[in-house]
Amino acid sequence: MLEYVFYILAAISIVCALMMVVSKNPIHSVLFLIATFFSIAGHFVILNAHFLAIVQIIVYTGAIMVLFLYVIMLLNLNKSTESSKPTLVKIAAVVSAGLLFLVMLASFKESVDLKIVDTADGLGSVKNLGKVLFSEYLLPFEASSVLFLSAMAGSVLLAKKK
């Protein structure tokens, strides 16, 4: 049963991710990206990581993508005004994307099959996650919060400077 759900979700996420890249209209791209995030949240639910799933929805679809949509609406890119690029740029893009694909293939080839961890015992629950974050990974956690603070201070500084 769960396997079928996984395949359906995986198909949705791959199709939506592809459509996000392919679609001409930036607003459609954003909407497909939102659908992709939703299906990834579904994957988290299958893995019993409910907290991660809901945080994915709140942070990515609920906040970051709203801002994306906001900016695109303000820029008024709704008519596909994208100018066509010169042929040289197109060739360069294809070559670099192919190289990236090669690197990805190489890294997957060397990867080890990890065992699937049974998460039914509440491994992904808020309590466990909090305990791990605030004991084992306290330093990286606090360091990343300082990073966010500096990003916030930087954006305020940029906005104040006129």
Binding site: I57, V66, M73, L74
Partner: protein
Amino acid sequence: MELTELIFKGILVVIIFAITLVAALYSTFAERKISAVLQDRIGPNRAGPFGLLQPLADGVKMFMKEEIIPTSSSKWLFILAPCLAMITAGMSSAVMPWGGNLIIDGETYALQVADINIGILYILGITSVGIYGIMIGGWASDNKYSLLGAIRASSQMISYELAMGLSVIAVVMMTGDLSINEIVKGQPGGHWNVFYQPLGFIIFLICAFAETNRAPFDLPECETELIGGYHTEYSSMKLGFFLFAEYINMFVSCALVAAVYFGGYNMPFINSMGWSPNTVTIVGTACFFLKIAFGIFFFMWVRWTLPRFRYDQLMRLGWQILIPLSIINVILTGLGIIVFK
């Protein structure tokens, strides 16, 4: 899950959905009656006794109106937007605990569709997704006023989500759990959170007004500046969906306020009456709906009393007053927990 439990949950889903829709339907009627009382008028009284059939008449009117899809709009997104608004509005009542446990033939049934352990975050997530209906609708209309309404709605939503989440954190700190059922159980009898979290309650209430786009925060559809805001181009039942979704959102946020701050289905003295558990559950559910009804009345009372904010005032209230206050509230709650427990 056993078959009987599945059937029970299925029936519960249908009942809750029906109640949500009927409550939203009659909220429109209540709004017109309450506004009439507050403005010293009579209000709708033609359709049926005391005008009770007015919502049905309104619904028929909405269905019968001509349906217009602007030629320059993105057709699919234009149709998708009201559906999204309606779907997200209907989803959030799934984790609400409507009552305690019913015992039928020795089996215990919880009056809650899904008791997930992150219930309160689920509601916050759904409300933050609900904005897409308004944003897509405003953009797809290809109309400057609609676009301005959509942009206002999104920035307002993001600004007030933060303070809302922070005020909920204080309650979660007191309960030690993210499940709404546990939060309700943590306020037995008259020990409601509103007495322990008065500041958090006020912040949460203001944010609930802003998140449901109700006056005095209804700038996305501010008719004096933006005609109809994001639904300027909408007509017929698509407009009806947008308006209806707003009333469902109002019902759900009143239920959330009642559950998180007013003890949900808890009432003082309810356990000392000597009633059977089933009676206590049913009376508790009735109390919950009474609290919701008062909440809805309060929402309408505010709407017809207070004037609308100016946009810069709205932003200043959200970012410079509510967010610092809610952070102070979190710190105070933490200190209180250390000192008193």
